[in-house]
């Protein structure tokens, strides 16, 4: 009998003692937290991507409850999250338009020359350190996929041509790839934007044509052909007034180097369509 009693009592006793200590500790050491922080944290995407500028979703929730930031500051969460947060906090929320990342460069391996051999760390930021990278065009995408690695949602991948592709279903427009790109060649465009010029080179036609077959040459045919005068030239690059634009597509058709795009058509889809058209 004794051999059963000792283990039961000693372990039971130890367990009870530890449990008592924990219960006491829980009472004494309880941290009073606004219950809304937990609710908000649950409503957030939970990706801890830091696009809002805070170290993780929980911190963001704490700042929200403290009233220091606006619910729409969580871009990855989008409209649904902002509304959910608004409900929890009991505030009106203005919902923004969904945003997507777009790479403002169409000069992949097929279109653009390289000006040197690069042997080094396979990272755009590293390549930048060596005279701005090995691409023929100094303003273009280097293709070492630093942006792809930086995306916390896995919404990017490199295509066969050496340019990043963006998956619109997973891209939340958080803008982390924009920060990561050392060439600043990625922009975040709104869902309502109708036309973009997918080239970042402000150089003259001669300079651009020497290295890239799809770069904008600043011919200003787009501005001339636009029926509503929504395009003006800023140096050698067109600037499009998205409010004025009626999405007629004339500028896209007229552009001799194919540098203009409809950003709402998924980039991958667009290239496939072109291929099918012949």
């Amino acid at each position: 009998m004794e051999t059963y009693l000792i283990p039961i009592l000693s372990m039971g006793g130890l367990g009870a003692l530890l449990a008592a200590v924990l219960v006491l500790a829980d009472n004494k050491l309880r941290v009073e937290e606004d219950a809304r922080i937990d609710l908000i944290e649950e409503a957030l995407p939970g990706a801890n991507c830091a696009a809002c500028g805070y170290a993780g979703c929980r911190q963001f929730a704490e700042q929200l409850v403290a009233g220091k930031i606006d619910p729409s500051a969580c871009r990855p969460g989008g409209a649904s999250t902002a509304l959910a947060i608004g409900k929890i906090l009991g505030v009106e929320v203005e919902v923004g338009v969904p945003m997507r990342a777009r790479v403002m460069c169409l000069g992949g391996e097929a279109e653009c020359d390289t000006r040197s051999e690069y042997e080094g760390i396979s990272d755009c930021r590293a390549a930048m350190l060596l005279g701005g990278g090995n691409k023929g065009c100094v303003y273009g995408c280097l293709g070492f996929a630093t942006c792809v690695d930086s995306c916390p949602f896995g919404a990017m991948r490199m295509d066969a041509n050496g340019l990043p592709e963006i998956n619109d279903d997973t891209c939340t427009g958080c803008g982390i790839c924009v920060e990561a790109c050392p060439k600043s060649v990625i922009s975040v465009v709104a869902e309502g934007d109708k036309v973009i010029v997918a080239c970042s080179s402000p150089e003259k036609a001669k300079v651009v044509k020497e290295v890239c077959s799809r770069g904008c040459i600043g011919c200003s045919l787009c501005a001339k052909v636009c029926p509503v005068d929504a395009i003006i030239m800023d140096g050698n690059l067109p600037v499009i007034d998205q409010e004025r634009c009626i999405a007629c597509g004339d500028c896209i058709e007229r552009c001799p180097t194919d540098s203009m795009l409809d950003p709402q058509i998924n980039h991958i889809l667009m290239i496939r369509q072109k291929k099918e058209a012949g």
């Binding site: 449990a19 896995g154 991948r157 998956n167």
Partner: protein, 203 residues
């Protein structure tokens, strides 16, 4: 139900795919027989704890969930340890303190937490048995490799003759790490799973 059993053997093998239970895998696989007994002990603990957790899953309050699981696991581990010490004392001695360490084997707690606590008795036992068997196979495989190259013997039977200069390093920690690393690399290479994942197909 056979699916639950099968997945632990290869597709979700604890050592090669999930990378759980690394500590005993590296520590005791300096010979095939050690690996075998460690694997069997873990199998016993897995099945025993999986059974128990599955039976009592609804009676354990949420706050003490983890504590309850580890106590159950510790009980079965003590049973296994004492049994080994009694029946195969030589091997028990060479396994040393790594048998009690099955208590904190991430595989055991992981299965209890992820599967047994949410499923009925029979699937839980099948899952536990599959995982345990897969674990044993992995340990024996690694043990055979290390023992063969490290001493020329397999399960104590000298296979490679005097011409073979044993690589003592295989019996020591560096050899354990490196041989497991190479094995995982080879398995990944031949099963192509990692490579498929890298291509990130969205279709």
């Amino acid at each position: 139900m056979f699916q639950e059993f099968k997945k632990g053997l290869w597709s979700e093998n604890a050592v090669f795919r999930q990378l759980l239970g690394m500590c005993p895998t590296l520590a005791v696989t300096n010979s095939g027989i050690n690996g075998l007994f460690m694997g069997l002990a873990t199998l016993f603990v897995l099945v025993g704890s999986g059974l128990t957790v599955s039976i009592f899953k609804n009676s354990i309050p949420k706050q003490v969930r983890l504590a309850a699981y580890v106590v159950i696991i510790a009980t079965f581990v003590t049973m296994a340890d004492l049994f080994l010490a009694g029946s195969v004392p030589e091997i028990s001695k060479s396994l040393g303190p790594y048998v009690p360490l099955i208590v904190v084997n991430c595989l055991v707690l992981g299965r209890a937490e992820a599967f047994s606590s949410k499923n009925r008795l029979v699937p839980s036992v099948a899952d536990a048995a599959g995982m345990g068997l897969g674990f044993t196979i992995a340990l024996v495989a690694l043990g055979i490799v290390r023992e063969l190259i490290g001493s020329g013997a397999v399960f104590g039977v000298q296979l490679l003759g005097g011409w073979f200069e044993p690589w003592l390093i295989m019996m020591l920690p560096p050899g354990a790490f490196i041989s497991l690393g190479i094995m995982i690399g080879l398995i990944n290479h031949f099963t192509d799973r990692r490579l498929a994942a890298r291509h990130q197909h969205w279709e």
